[in-house]
Amino acid sequence: MTDLLLLIVSAALVNNFVLVQFLGLCPFLGVSSRIDSALGMSFATTFVLTLSSVVAYLLQSLFLIPLDAMWLRTLAFIMAIAVAVQFTELAVKKASPLLHSVLGIYLPLVTSNCAVLGVALLNTARAYTLVESVFYGLGAALGFSLVLILFAGVRERLQLADIPEPFQGASIALITAGFMALAFMGFSGMIRL
């Protein structure tokens, strides 16, 4: 149990996918301008990440290893992720058309979100069990959601601030993201797994 908890903390904070491993930066910058869209993206990504780690594990153990087809790993994973993303997109469109519009292209782009594929690949590379895979995916998703939402909160404040003209918009967002990554360095070395 403690191990699983540490696994989540490690994936969420210490080895945060966005700020420490620099994966999934595209949605991190793309949908963080508003808290509500960040929340929506967080839910979508959490769902896709957790689901795809399970599916990736199943694909790995039931299909790729028995058939000795590890060379198809990336292809198979991306297909599984694409299905999960497409499913999520349909669900979001039904549940909240406004959110669907606000997330725009970033929702289908979760497919090519390297954090999602990264989790799937890391899971298999580290030979996690099913439960571990789920927890690792969940931890990664929680970390992604955490920084996305926090960053959105800060960006909402930045939009109201009197920022010098050359730094307005994306540049100050990138600088702030850098500072956030700096702050996350404080976690480094905390959990060695």
Binding site: V154, L158, A161, D162, P164, A183, M185, G186, G189, M190
Partner: protein, 338 residues
Amino acid sequence: MIKRPAYPPRNTAIVMRSVLISLIPGIVAMTIFFGPGVLFNLATSIFTAVATEALCISLRGRALMPRLRDLSAALTGVLIALSLPQAAPWWLIVAASGSSIILGKHLYGGLGQNPVNPAMLGYALMLISAPVAMTTFWINPLTTPSISAAWAAYVGQANDALTGATMLDLYRTQFLSLTAIEASDHPLFTKAHLGLIYGYEWVALSYLLGGLWLIYQRVITWHTPVGLLATLIVISAFFSIDPDTATPVWVHLIAGAGIFAAFFILTDPVSGATSPRGRLWFAICVGVLTYSMRTYGQYPDAIAFSVLLMNFTAPMIDHYTRPRIMGHESSVKGSGGR
């Protein structure tokens, strides 16, 4: 005895000035125990901060004097100087002070707009960029450097005999490998030396004095310092049930930047949470993060990282700790019509 005012000061410059005044006991204690290098650092840091501030303001074409007069840059300079190693070379001070003013403050539009604490940002940047200097150029508390030795350190030729890691770092890296019995014999940590030689206690007490004066003057509220210090005490007391593996309460409290941060760093109003309840939560979270990073992380004193992390959560804390508006049913949803 000065009468306690009924309200906080009615002027930003007076707020900043009060904080500067309340830092004086701490600065005096630092100078006594860690040598004149502290003063060199202070002068460099203040000069750099004020000069950078002036440069940034004039680059933006804003009026210079009103902003310089509010002393906020000078205060950032002082805070930076006090948190950096006492034997740090001049370039480290200049880089820390300049980057905190430029990156931490003026990129975001100057006073009142910055999302993170400028002083802690400068400190963290230096910790990442110059980790050796930041972890080893602390004055060894067993020595008291002369003016010439301090100057040598200032120009970058520090004497190894004078410098070392901080006590918190030493405790973590060397002391925890000893047993409690062995430890009581260790020259650095025997009770007889406490306070009298190392000075950490006296520095901490001086900061405490200044901080209490700030509360008395209503410049800061009790929420932040109490939140941080209580959290540190409670957590470290809980874990120090086993003295062989845990750093004791007193080390957490006085050997690191705990008291200094509680009264002077976390209380930065701009980058912190603003409601009283929010400030309490902010400080408690900083306490928890600091303890865990100090204990499990790789950096000796994690206050800077904890503060930066919590700065990013401040908008959320503000949102969720808002008091219930009169006439409203719940506290979080604020909107309503008249």
